[in-house]
Symmetry: C2
C-alpha cells in the first residue's frame, strides 16, 4: 500500500477541516507523536487519530512507527498537485512567505471554525 497518488478530492476535503489544517500547521514546525498532536485540541484522541488517517490518506503527512510511538511528519509534496491546480486559476503574484506567516498566526488560535474574536 504505497499510498498511490492521492486524488484532488482527497486532498481538498482533507484541507477543508480546520482541525486538520491546524494539525498541518503544527507539523510544519516539527514532527510530532500522535498524543502530542492531540494535546492542544479539546476532542478525543481517537478523533485526532482519525484526522491523521485522513491526512495520511490524502498524502499530506506520513506516519512512521518507531518503538511504540508513531511519528507524524509533513509530506510537502502532497500539496503540490493541488497547488498546481489552484494556481492555474489565478496567475497569482509570487507568494510572500510573510503572508503565510501572518496567515498562520491568524488562523491557528481558532481551530474550531471561523468565528474570530474581534
Amino acid at each position: 500500500m504505497p499510498a498511490q497518488q492521492p486524488s484532488l478530492d482527497a486532498i481538498f476535503s482533507a484541507l477543508a477541516d480546520p482541525t486538520r489544517r491546524a494539525i498541518l500547521a503544527m507539523l510544519l514546525e516539527d514532527d510530532m507523536a500522535v498524543t502530542d498532536v492531540a494535546a492542544p485540541f479539546e476532542m478525543s484522541l481517537a478523533a485526532i487519530s482519525k484526522h491523521l488517517a485522513v491526512l495520511a490518506a490524502a498524502g499530506l503527512i506520513r506516519q512512521e512507527r518507531r518503538g511504540r510511538i508513531i511519528w507524524c511528519k509533513l509530506e510537502p509534496d502532497g500539496l503540490r498537485n493541488a497547488s498546481v491546480w489552484m494556481q492555474g486559476f489565478g496567475q497569482f503574484e509570487p507568494v510572500d512567505l510573510d503572508d503565510f506567516e501572518r496567515f498562520l498566526r491568524e488562523s491557528l488560535p481558532l481551530m474550531d471554525g471561523d468565528d474570530a474574536k474581534p
Copy 2:
C-alpha cells in the same frame, strides 16, 4: 451582502467536489449562464444551481443577472488566500502553466470521482 472574505473552510470544501472543480475549469474558458453550465452534467439543474451557490459563497465565482439569465464568472482572487496558505507548506517551484493545462485535460473528462483510465 458583499460576500465578505470567505473562510478557508468554505474555499477548500467547495474545491473538494469534482463537479465543482469541473465547473471552475469550464468557467476558466468563458463566462457561462447557469443552464449552459449544467448542460454537460448528468445531474439536475437544481443540483448545479446549488453547486454554483456553494462556489459563490466560497468567493470562487460571481453570479450576476443580466436580463433573465444569470452569468457565472470566475473570481480568481477567491483562490488567493487558499493558495497562499498552501504554498507555505511547500516552497514549491514556480508553477508551470503547462502542468495546469495537462492537469485539466486529465481531470475534466471524469467529473464523477477519481477513477482514471490508465
